[in-house]
């Protein structure tokens, strides 16, 4: 099995290298055979990586200690699910998982970038002279895959090749044990937690996903085609990457919260910072893409952010694998971290050079018209995110840099990060709260101004209410007020939009507004999730209380309005561990609220104790119990922690995932799935799609026009896709592609305004 794995790993390395070369070199060649050979090599590479992963999983499941990796991270006492999770726990295994994800995503990108296959389309003539033109590309066409897709695919496969090369030359997951091993080391007890089963793969998937926007930006920069095409393709990938990495970070926080036994979830540790950095720049990137699409702004910044985010993913890997940075998490001295650092530096330098080279193409499209426009808000939010990212980066590398420069290593503590987080975080929350009631390209309408004032009033009232309830910290009051502001502003945006559809507010208008503006509102749902998360962070940071207790069985103490009774102490023995647990009865107002069982586990194989906390979670906060130790006389030492609003933090994460799902959920077919289709002549769709005037799009458009001509001609709001189709089909005569794309995700209100302007009608209310 090991030999098979070695052979597959080598095959993956060679084929991914060939795929990258063929796709990048073949992109500029008229002969499609080179590109297609590259595509097939990529498929072989991913198949080979799948085989390597399967071999390693098989070895882990069967505890085959002839594999050095299995001997290091597994044991016969380990439950099967943790034995399998060892696949991504070690250095070599996590690289394998990352490379495998990367390969699968490369194929997914290639698949989703395919032009739609039409039933009536003729088989292409392979002798067509227009081989390099993407205009008439189809899955069967001679020009597929087109040059741009091929280049992006080549970049993705080059990264697969890089990761595979690291495995082949420096971290071989198939390496043999040097001696006969009867029992493995097992998995660190601290890693035996449900969140740890999925935290590493989710983070690696996030890193892999960020590679796609990077590859698109790189190809756009190198080819000089920095129009709207790469933006349209990059946005869903960027949003997916952002969400997946965010979920990974939250899973890590959950692990720290429950497993480390100190009631905290974030310690500004270098490893934590490493994963936070690409998330911060990625957040800025997503908003930069929006500003570019809607306002022709932030072009250089957005391209730079796409490269920086991917570079920071490599920097995070350097942090965890170089041994340079001291962390709560373990590191080993390994040369592979430096490979990732070299790649990051190369990307940073190359990115700056590339953006400077294309600076003329990346000039802003139009000046800022209002400080109360979405462009202005995105600019401020991007600045705040970059400031926070720079702060985190500076704090993280401060030790290594100071040692390098002055010979004395100096580091900053959590107070440094927390101090910066206050102004930056409040700025971000302010922009987040305001966003729904602002428009692209101009200031708010009269109705929107009214709602802004109303939202501010409600926010102030909620902050006042929080103060009356006993919240004294200004930051806590500000967060409460901004959260209320955001909720009211979101409701106001929907109602303003609905009112534009129907003269009187009706459920129909409301539903139409929500349905037709789904993608935009999904973004605001993500914003609400962020607000919710901020409430949780503020509550648990500012209001945390803890107290140590010494209790004997039957003893009762009162704390934070609760009575805590140690009902009994129990001990039991499992196959791999000894368990000592305390049964605590928590009551409030004479009513039993919860029974908590904090415990200490002694892991026989590792000869280590672990603390297993017990948590009673409610919407007002977490009641968190930690059992430290006990005496032979039956006295237990416990710490009780009251963490206010913790559940809101996790809820915020869930809402953000929900918002992303709503945003990415396929709706009406995007107007221009690929460049060739947008630039095709108007008659082509008819020729391939059926009789004139019978397409779904044309039926919908005609129906909408009929409806609106009967009632409110000026207020017709076409679906985004319809606008795109209309615009893209009729822009073959030369209208800029990015002009057509700009309306894809406009708010309905914006679209009305823009359409009104284009038609010479009213520019919105």
């Amino acid at each position: 099995m090991r030999t098979l794995g070695e052979a597959c790993l080598l095959a993956a390395f060679v084929s991914s290298g060939f795929a990258a070369f063929a796709c990048l070199a073949g992109a500029g060649l008229p002969d499609r055979r080179v590109r297609r050979a590259g595509t097939w090599a990529a498929r072989i590479s991913v198949l080979a990586l799948t085989m390597v992963a399967a071999v390693l999983a098989w070895a882990l499941a069967g505890r085959d200690f002839s594999f050095a990796y299995v001997a290091q991270y597994s044991s016969t006492l380990l439950p099967w699910h943790y034995a399998l999770s060892a696949l991504w726990v070690g250095q070599a295994g996590s690289l394998l998982l990352w490379a495998w994800f990367m390969g699968l995503l490369a194929l997914l990108f290639h698949w989703q970038a395919r032009p739609p296959r039409s039933p009536g389309s003729p088989r292409p003539d392979s002798s067509s002279p227009d081989l390099a033109s993407p205009d008439l590309a189809s899955p069967e066409s001679a020009s597929w895959p087109d040059a741009a897709t091929c280049s992006v695919f080549g970049v993705l496969m080059a990264y697969v090749c890089f990761l595979t090369a690291v495995m082949v030359f420096a971290a071989d997951p198939m390496a043999a044990s040097l001696s006969a091993v009867r029992e493995g080391s097992g998995l660190s007890p601290l890693l035996q937690h449900p969140a740890m089963l999925i935290h590493p793969p989710v983070v690696f998937l996030g890193y892999a996903l960020w590679t796609v926007p990077f590859a698109l930006a790189l190809v756009a920069l190198s080819s000089g085609r920095v129009d709207g095409d790469w933006i349209r393709q990059a946005r869903p990938w960027a949003l997916s990457a952002w969400t997946v990495l965010g979920v990974g970070i939250l899973l890590g926080a959950d692990w720290a919260y429950e497993e480390l036994g100190w009631g905290g979830y974030w310690g500004w540790d270098p490893v934590e910072n490493g994963s936070l950095l690409p998330w911060l720049t990625g957040t800025a990137l997503i908003h930069g893409l929006l500003a570019w699409q809607h306002g022709q702004a932030l072009k250089k910044t957005t391209l730079g952010l796409a490269i920086a985010t991917f570079a920071l993913c490599n920097f995070a890997t350097f942090l965890t694998r170089s041994g340079v940075f001291s962390s709560l998490h373990a590191f080993s001295q390994s040369p592979i971290g430096w490979l990732f650092l070299a790649l990051m530096i190369g990307l940073a330098v190359g990115g700056v050079v590339g953006v400077l080279r294309r600076r003329e193409l990346l000039a802003p499209g139009r000046p800022l018209r209002s400080v109360l426009s979405r462009e202005a808000l995105v600019l401020v939010a991007t600045l705040a995110l970059l400031l926070l990212a720079l702060t985190v980066l500076a704090g993280t590398v401060s030790t290594a840099l100071s040692a390098l420069i002055s010979g004395r290593a100096v580091m900053v503590g959590p107070a440094f990060y927390n101090s910066v987080l206050v102004p930056v975080g409040l700025t971000l929350l302010w922009t987040t709260a305001m966003a729904p009631l602002l428009r692209w390209g101009r200031g708010p309408s009269r109705e929107q101004k009214h709602w802004l004032v109303g939202s501010a009033g409600v926010g102030g009232a909620v902050a006042g209410g929080a103060a009356w309830l006993g919240v004294r910290q200004p930051v806590g009051l500000a967060v409460a007020g901004l959260a209320a502001f955001a909720v009211v502003a979101f409701a106001g945006a929907v109602l303003v939009d609905a009112a534009r559809r129907e003269p009187v507010w009706t459920a129909r208008g409301l539903l139409a507004a929500l349905r037709q503006g789904r993608r935009q509102y999904a973004g605001f749902v993500i914003h609400l999730g962020l607000m919710c998360l901020a409430v949780g962070v503020a509550g648990s940071s500012l209001g945390k209380r803890e107290q140590g207790f010494r209790l004997t069985a039957g003893q009762t103490v009162s704390w934070e309005g609760r009575r805590i009774r140690l009902a009994r102490v129990a001990q039991r023995e499992l196959a791999d561990r000894l368990v000592a647990e305390a049964v605590l009865e928590i009551s409030r107002g004479g009513r039993l609220e919860a029974t908590l069982v904090p415990a200490q586990h002694y892991h026989k194989r590792q000869q280590e104790w672990t603390t297993e906390v017990a948590i009673h979670a409610t919407w007002s906060g977490d009641f968190y119990a930690i059992l430290h130790s006990g005496t032979a006389e039956g006295e237990l030492f416990l710490t009780l922690v009251d963490n206010p609003l913790m559940r809101w933090l996790w809820l915020g994460g869930a809402i953000m995932v929900l918002g992303t799902g709503l945003r990415l959920w396929p709706g009406a077919r995007p107007a221009a799935r690929w460049a060739g289709e947008r630039q095709a002549e108007p008659g082509r769709r008819r020729a391939r799609g059926g009789p004139v005037g019978k397409t779904k799009l044309e039926r919908r458009t005609r129906h909408a026009r009929l409806l609106n001509s009967a009632s409110k001609p000026f207020s017709w709001r076409p679906r985004a896709a319809q606008v795109n189709h209309d615009t893209s089909i009729t822009t073959a005569a030369g209208t800029r592609v990015d002009e057509a794309l700009r309306f894809a995700d406009d708010s309905p209100a914006d679209r009305v305004g823009d359409r009104g302007r284009r038609d010479g009608g009213p520019a919105g209310r």
Binding site: Q72, G90, L328, A330, L368, G413, S629, T631, T639
Partner: protein, 136 residues
């Protein structure tokens, strides 16, 4: 005043406040990061200063209070030992021969009074060697 100028002023305020807060936070929390050997060698200069020191827990030196609220041990460097008394939450895997990082204040007596103790605990990348002789 154009919208661009207004926005630049607002951005300037955000950058200014953030920079000031970063300065305040760094002033309050910066500390030397030393090995046990360096800390012992510069003990007089570092007296009453906040430091972060790395080293191994010396064999035979670890004493943990019954309620695990305090531990004392010697931090072993390559050539020197630093006496440490550490309060606060103790990691589960604090043990002799473990690599640890202690944050705290160095007393004039040469004892490091720690308030934060980190171990290289969740060792994903460098586990202890497997047992070649048999099971536990």
């Amino acid at each position: 005043m154009t919208p661009g100028v207004k926005l630049a002023l607002g951005a300037g305020v955000v950058v200014g406040v953030t920079s000031y807060m970063a300065y305040v936070g760094a002033s309050a929390s910066w500390q030397y990061y030393l090995t046990a050997d360096e800390c012992v060698a510069r003990a007089e200069q570092l007296a009453d200063r906040r430091v972060r020191v790395s080293g191994g827990v010396a064999v035979g030196s670890l004493q943990v209070a019954a309620d695990r609220s305090q531990a004392s041990f010697a931090l072993q460097g390559a050539t020197a030992r630093l006496r440490v008394v550490c309060s606060g939450p103790l990691p589960d895997n604090l043990a002799e021969k473990t690599e640890v990082v202690v944050e705290g204040r160095l007393e004039p007596s040469g004892v490091l009074r720690g308030d934060k103790l980190l171990t290289r605990c969740a060792s994903k990348y460098e586990p202890r060697p497997p047992d070649a002789r048999g099971g536990p």
